[in-house]
């Protein structure tokens, strides 16, 4: 079959409402042109979100510690234990950051750090509990790797760890650290980090406890197209099982200042991956555009490649900034971008429900 015929055949099946396979996805990646991907992704977006609105959240990223022993070669943010540049933010500093955000109308903190051997579950329980006592904010926090490590340090099961964190105030878990959910890739870029099954296991446990999480993908390091497609399939399978993912957020590896180094994939590749995510993840409601890694122009175009969400206004961000992503956007600019694309900007909460 000619490549163009194969793309047409896949598209016809897709537009009739059928779910596409791994092989379909790979053939679209290889042979569909940019406009075909845009059209298919947008079709799915309209099917799931017919209203012409683009959501975003007013929230703040707080990186409570940069101490991390895992030494992922793609990361420019961490400092190993013992480093003079390592820090753990004090409660006072964290509260100050939250107060500033609340005063500016923010409703969510995204709190993430590293795998710091000095911080056990009691630290987190105390932190989350006191945040909840002082502020009416949603805590979107930690990651699979942090939770696995807290469980390990505290000699608890993952499920019990999540349950205790939740009882202390943790509301939802970001799907960070998904990287590419293929062990062949993870072993190369983060040999000491959790495996694919461990990552998925944390998400499954959280979902089973009734918590929602997001899922992410960081592609473009050593991975090939097959790996990325496999990642999408793993997320889709778990979502079929639990329905616990609120959103999927892909972005590309940011090589600046990292040990792994290498070249950064372009925004063109990003739009392709974003569209394929939307096309294949028919059971994940929201796809988020990453303006912090892609810049405002590509992020705005992402709204025609499957994204229905613009992420966070993000008061501060330190992780991808350490690797050279330096884009920033305030709420007014974010709204201008959304209007310019022909959509109504709507504030949302962490569950992707509209708020005023």
């Amino acid at each position: 079959m000619r490549n163009s015929d194969r793309v047409r055949e896949i598209a016809e099946r897709f537009y009739s409402g059928k779910r596409l396979s791994f092989e379909d996805g790979l053939d679209l990646y290889r042979h569909a042109n940019l406009l075909e991907l845009s059209q298919m992704a947008h079709w799915m977006r309209v099917r799931l979100h017919p209203e012409p609105a683009v959501t975003y959240i007013v929230s703040r990223n707080i990186n409570y510690t940069n101490v991390c022993w895992v030494r992922c070669s793609f990361c420019a943010f961490y400092r190993p234990p013992g480093s003079e540049e390592g820090y753990v933010l004090t409660k006072e500093v964290i509260f100050q950051k939250i107060r500033e955000m609340v005063d500016a109308g923010g409703i969510e903190i995204l709190i993430q750090g590293g795998l710091n051997p000095r911080l056990r579950i009691e630290y987190y329980e105390d932190l989350f509990g006191s945040i909840k006592k002082n502020f009416k904010v949603h805590i979107h926090g930690l990651s699979a790797a942090e939770i696995l490590y807290i469980a390990h340090l505290s000699r608890m099961t993952v499920k019990d760890t999540i349950a205790r964190l939740r009882a202390s105030g943790l509301d939802t878990i970001p799907g960070a650290g998904g990287e590419v959910l293929v062990d062949e890739v993870r072993k190369q870029i983060a040999p000491l980090k959790d495996t694919t099954d461990e990552w998925l296991g944390v998400m499954r446990d959280a979902h089973c406890l009734g918590m929602r999480t997001t899922a992410t993908m960081m592609y473009g390091s050593v991975d090939r197209a097959e790996h990325r497609l496999e990642h999408l399939m793993r997320v889709r399978e778990l979502q079929d099982e639990t329905g616990g993912f609120t959103a999927f957020i892909p972005w590309n590896y940011q090589p600046g200042g990292t040990e792994l180094g290498g070249k950064k994939t372009t925004g063109f590749e990003y739009l392709k991956m974003l569209a394929l995510s939307r096309i294949l993840l028919d059971n994940v409601s929201n796809i988020q555009a990453s303006w912090v890694t892609q810049g405002p122009q590509i992020a705005q175009l992402a709204l025609r490649y499957g994204a229905n969400d613009f992420g966070s206004t993000m008061f501060e961000e330190h992780v991808v900034k350490a690797a050279g992503a330096t884009f920033c956007m305030n709420e007014e600019e974010l709204k201008r971008q959304v209007w310019n694309a022909g959509y109504e900007p709507r504030r949302r909460n962490t569950y992707y429900q509209y708020v005023n």
């Binding site: 940019l34 406009l35 059209q39 925004g267 405002p296 122009q297 705005q300 600019e333 310019n340 694309a341």
Partner: protein, 349 residues
């Protein structure tokens, strides 16, 4: 793709026009500019683009030289190369470093200075031709030409005749109107300026000189104003046919004092796609990395653009290596398009 185009307002009609090669009206293009359906706009522009250039993306091996070091009032792109004033000795030494097998064209534009009359411009062209006879010389914006002619009291025709004799191959041209930091002022006077330059276009046509043409828009300009300007370029091209390549450019002024809204990705692609559709008499539409970023350039190749601008090459201490040929070809191939060296093509003709 065709079904979705048919869904935009009057889309079926527009699709028929594009498929049959019929000319779109200004109001057709205004409707397209305003559509939310950027994919369909891109698909329409891509139909025209592929009819003209197939799967090719053209680029040139060029170096830039700004001999006055002053900002170029009609071109935000050329302003990237306006940094320091070069003495004749300095730029001549730089030219000597250029490897003739690697670089094919010299892009010579500068902010006009009353110190550079027609004789001075001719002398520069002659010197370049003597130092590097294999280089094609694409030089001078309308404002440099006007300044030189004014100083010398020559007509457009006499001015261009002298430059062609000195060895000029083609004109840089650029936008048909100059920019000022005070954009509203510019918008008010644009028609007069554009009409003043029409005789230059006619004179260039009479001398067989071809040139590039750009349109500089602000992110918050009235679309009607943008479309009117593009329609005027189409009229001039119908009459004189000297424009080789159209470049939509977002207004940028080389100063931190002037705050303008950042270009949106949508508007950048609207300008490329609508430019392609309205300028049906012009072969090339440029989406260059220098104007758009590498990522947006790649995307633009599917929204009507078939030209990547120049690979600015190493061995050139005037500009530093910005993006080399190999890297540019790789970026073009990464989009599924085929890179074609423009000047090699011309020389083989």
């Amino acid at each position: 793709m065709a079904t979705e185009i048919a869904q935009i307002d009057g889309g079926a009609d527009l699709l028929l026009k594009v498929l049959s090669g019929e000319r779109l009206s200004a109001s057709d293009c205004l409707r397209l500019w305003k559509t939310r359906d950027l994919t369909s706009l891109g698909a329409l522009a891509n139909l025209r683009r592929e009819a003209v250039s197939g799967n090719a993306v053209f680029f040139r091996r060029e170096v830039h030289l700004n001999y006055t070091g002053l900002p170029v009032p009609s071109c935000p792109l050329c302003n990237r190369f306006a940094s320091r004033r070069l003495s004749p000795g300095q730029w001549e030494r730089s030219l000597e470093l250029i490897h003739p097998d690697i670089v094919a064209e010299l892009h010579l534009t500068a902010g006009a200075s009353p110190q550079f009359g027609l004789d001075a411009l001719c002398a520069i062209v002659r010197r370049v031709a003597a130092l590097r006879p294999s280089l094609k010389v694409r030089a001078f914006t309308w404002s440099e030409l006007e300044t030189a002619a004014e100083r010398e009291g020559t007509t457009p025709d006499q001015t261009l005749e002298a430059l062609v004799e000195a060895g000029l191959d083609s004109l840089a041209g650029g936008a048909l109107m100059d920019l000022t930091p005070d954009r509203p002022h510019l918008v008010g006077e644009r028609t007069a300026q554009l009409e003043r330059r029409a005789p230059w276009v006619a004179a260039a046509a009479a001398r067989g000189l071809r040139c590039e043409v750009s349109w500089v828009y602000g992110d918050e300009d009235d679309p009607q104003w943008i479309i009117d300007g593009l329609a005027r370029i189409r009229d001039l091209q119908d009459r004189w046919g000297i424009f080789q390549c159209f470049t939509p450019l977002l207004f940028q002024w080389p100063s931190d004092d002037v705050e303008i809204p950042m270009a949106t990705g949508y508007n950048q692609l609207r300008a490329v796609a609508v430019g392609r559709l309205i300028l049906d008499n012009l072969a090339r539409v440029r989406g260059s990395w220098a104007a758009l970023t590498e990522s947006m350039m790649q995307v633009a190749f599917w929204y009507g653009a078939d030209d990547a601008g120049g690979a600015v090459l190493p061995g050139d201490d005037l500009t530093g290596t910005v993006i080399g040929q190999e890297q540019l070809e790789e970026l073009i191939r990464g989009t599924g398009r085929d890179p074609i060296d423009d000047l090699r093509l011309t020389n083989d003709d």
